[in-house]
């Protein structure tokens, strides 16, 4: 178990009040494992990623939670220590919207090399050489080193951002919607690249996306997030073929399939307001299998076959 996240609870302080973004989120991640984190917009998945990187904005409150990485609770470290030892070195991130992730006035190669110079104190020529190698690793020509971001296509920029994330050889890479802004063919290329890197470098991924089918392609395990909670988590196959939580079921129903006759359905209702979420189970207003207890009490985590589900249906 490389990373064990326990009971992560995060709130945002906003003008309207306290927004409960994450509620007792827990999962574990092994080496070389890809965990897909799937959820709608506003479900809290990006917050999850930022929390692990300790890059939450100033108005975020981390109420509870431990992240044990190789025996060390990385949430307990001082900021400077985290920056020196963990951030980008052990855990790195590929942000949502690679378009804007690159500094427009600096050559991309230099940007890739920056962590080497700053963190590792490598002399520049060495760092640049390593950067060029990284670029090749993600399937780009070495010459791209000297380009500026505006000279590159979306796909190329995405590869660079990935190269940047890998430059210090981290153990875990958090990818937040890495392909959302790309067209489908490029998407496929990037996914293939990620798979290749995972295989070659024994990387662990936390793949955050709203697209469950995409997640299924690369993830070993899938965690479904709704309203700041992991409602179901388990091996991909099981979650996909044997969904337990009503939300997961609805999600899967909503995916258009070529082979089926019937039209995809949609989930009635809308995601809850996290400043004032519903009592009891947060999904109960939209749940087709809702029970009395769902209105009153927050469900606990239950283990069902290979999955862990947070739903009263599986109360035994």
């Amino acid at each position: 178990m490389m990373l064990e996240l326990k009971d992560l609870t995060v709130n945002y302080l906003t003008d309207r009040g306290r927004l409960k973004a994450l509620n007792k989120v827990s999962f574990s991640l092994s080496e070389g494992e890809a965990l897909g984190v799937v959820g709608e917009s506003g479900s809290g998945k990006t917050t999850l990623g930022l929390s692990l990187m300790r890059l939450l904005p100033k108005n975020a409150e981390l109420l509870e939670g431990k992240a044990i990485f190789n025996g060390l609770d990385i949430f307990g470290l001082l900021e400077e220590e985290f920056r020196r030892k963990i951030r980008w070195k052990k855990i790195s991130m590929v942000f949502q919207g690679a378009m804007n992730s690159l500094n427009p006035v600096i050559k991309v190669g230099h940007q890739v090399a920056e962590p080497l110079i700053e963190h590792e104190n490598l002399p520049k020529p060495e760092a640049y050489r390593r950067a060029e190698e990284a670029l090749e690793q993600v399937g780009l020509n070495r010459q791209v080193f000297h380009c500026y971001p505006h000279e590159l296509s979306g796909g190329m920029k995405q590869r660079i951002v990935i190269a940047m994330a890998l430059i210090l050889s981290p153990k875990i890479v958090i990818l937040d919607e890495p392909t959302s802004a790309l067209d489908v063919s490029i998407q496929a290329q990037i996914i293939n690249l990620l798979k290749k890197l995972k295989w070659e470098l024994s990387l662990s991924f936390i793949f955050i996306t709203h697209d469950i089918s995409l997640a299924s392609d690369i993830s070993d395990r899938i965690a479904v997030v709704y309203a700041g909670e992991i409602v179901e988590i388990g091996p991909s196959e099981d979650v996909l073929l044997n969904p337990k939580h009503p939300y997961t079921k609805e999600l899967l129903e909503s995916i258009p399939r070529i082979t089926l006759d019937k039209l995809p359905s949609f989930i009635a209702g809308s995601p809850p307001d996290m400043v004032d979420p519903p009592k009891g189970c947060k999904f109960h207003p939209r749940c087709p299998e809702v029970m009395d207890i769902c209105y009153r009490e927050e469900p606990k985590d239950f283990t069902v076959s290979k999955q862990r589900v947070r739903c009263w249906l599986y109360n035994d």
Binding site: L55, W88, L102, P104, P115
Partner: protein, 348 residues
């Protein structure tokens, strides 16, 4: 080489701007009849005065009229009214483009010369001492505090100083100037109220220079206080805009030091608009600050332009318009080149 060609193209465009501005001024002065009418009014006014003073010594009405007629012709000559505007004004453009600024009709330098170049050379240092100095101080302070406020955006510190900045921005320079004169010059007697030198001015050169600096303090203070708010706030805004971009967060995520982030990611990216403000501001400062110069009795470029317009001194108006526009386009050109260096996005 593309860069070179692009710059050259820009340069030519800017020269076109210069020419158009001069043409515009000439047409405004000439075709609207403004220049001719005003000058004729000045002449007729002088003749009316002359008539009554001549009446003291010339007792023959016919003789009086004859003399006045002669005087009128002279005055028309003097003011250039013997030729229509489209003959005399365009010539001024051509002359000025050959860098001959000509002579003023009434205005003079303190040493007595009528040549516009002499007058400008005399007044330009005054303006630079005042306005440009104030601009540099405001600009640098604005840069420092603006960045500081942007870093601490949202805190009480930021809110308080942003508020003060907007007050400074709103305060009219001339009002501030007068308040300072009343308080610091007359009440507290720390600074002299107006003028460039004391009466009598010290004879020793060093003392005279210090006297000048002492006299310059209040106007510079006024200008700085009045303009610093604007600088701080705009720098703050520009820096904040950049600081909220994703690549800055990513820079932090990459584990870069805060100071590196500040330098390479924020300031470097925000530099072009800030520099634009500074350089154009510097160029503009050479045009003087007419209200401040008036309130403090400081003969500078702003006052010169104003006086020239009031007196309809065509030579000076065209010469100064040419000068100011020239300064502006040079500044613009420098900016264009600078931009190309600073921002690779602009290179194509």
């Amino acid at each position: 080489m593309i860069v070179g060609k692009k710059l050259a193209l820009r340069g030519i465009t800017l020269l076109g701007v210069l020419f158009s501005v001069l043409l515009l001024v000439v047409v405004t002065l000439g075709a609207t009849g403004l220049s001719d009418n005003m000058l004729k009014a000045i002449v007729s006014d002088q003749l009316r005065e002359l008539r009554t003073s001549l009446a003291q010594t010339i007792r023959d009405p016919l003789e009086l009229e004859k003399v006045l007629e002669q005087r009128r012709n002279q005055l028309y000559d003097f003011y250039g009214l013997d030729e229509p505007w489209y003959n005399r004004l365009p010539d001024l453009i051509i002359r000025v483009l050959s860098l001959d600024l000509g002579s003023a009709r009434n205005l003079k330098s303190f040493s007595g010369s009528s040549k516009v170049s002499d007058i400008v050379l005399e007044r330009l240092p005054n303006t630079i001492l005042l306005v440009t100095t104030a601009l540099i101080i405001s600009g640098l302070l604005g840069l420092y505090f603006g960045v500081k406020l942007a870093i601490k955006a949202g805190t009480k510190f930021d809110r308080f100083f942003s508020y003060l900045s907007s007050i400074s921005y709103a305060l009219p320079t001339w009002w501030l100037g007068i308040i300072f004169i009343l308080l610091l010059a007359f009440q507290l007697r720390i600074f002299p109220p107006t003028g460039m030198y004391s009466s009598p001015p010290p004879s020793d050169n060093l003392l005279k220079f210090l006297d000048l600096l002492w006299h310059a303090s209040l106007p510079i203070l006024t200008l700085v206080v009045a303009s610093i708010g604007g600088w701080i706030y705009s720098v703050r805004t520009m820096v904040l805009n950049v600081a909220q971009e994703d690549f800055v967060t990513l820079g932090r995520a990459k584990g870069l030091k805060e100071s590196t982030i500040m330098k390479r990611y924020i300031i470097r990216v925000a530099a072009p608009p800030i520099l634009t403000g500074l350089i154009l501001g510097l160029a503009g400062s050479l045009g003087g600050a007419i209200l401040t110069e008036t309130v403090f009795g400081w003969p500078g470029m702003g006052r010169l332009y104003y006086d020239a317009i009031l007196a309809l001194d065509e030579n000076v108006i065209i010469a100064l318009t040419f000068l100011f526009t020239l300064i502006y386009i040079i500044a613009r050109f420098i900016l264009e080149a600078l931009y190309m260096v600073l921002d690779p996005r602009v290179r194509y």
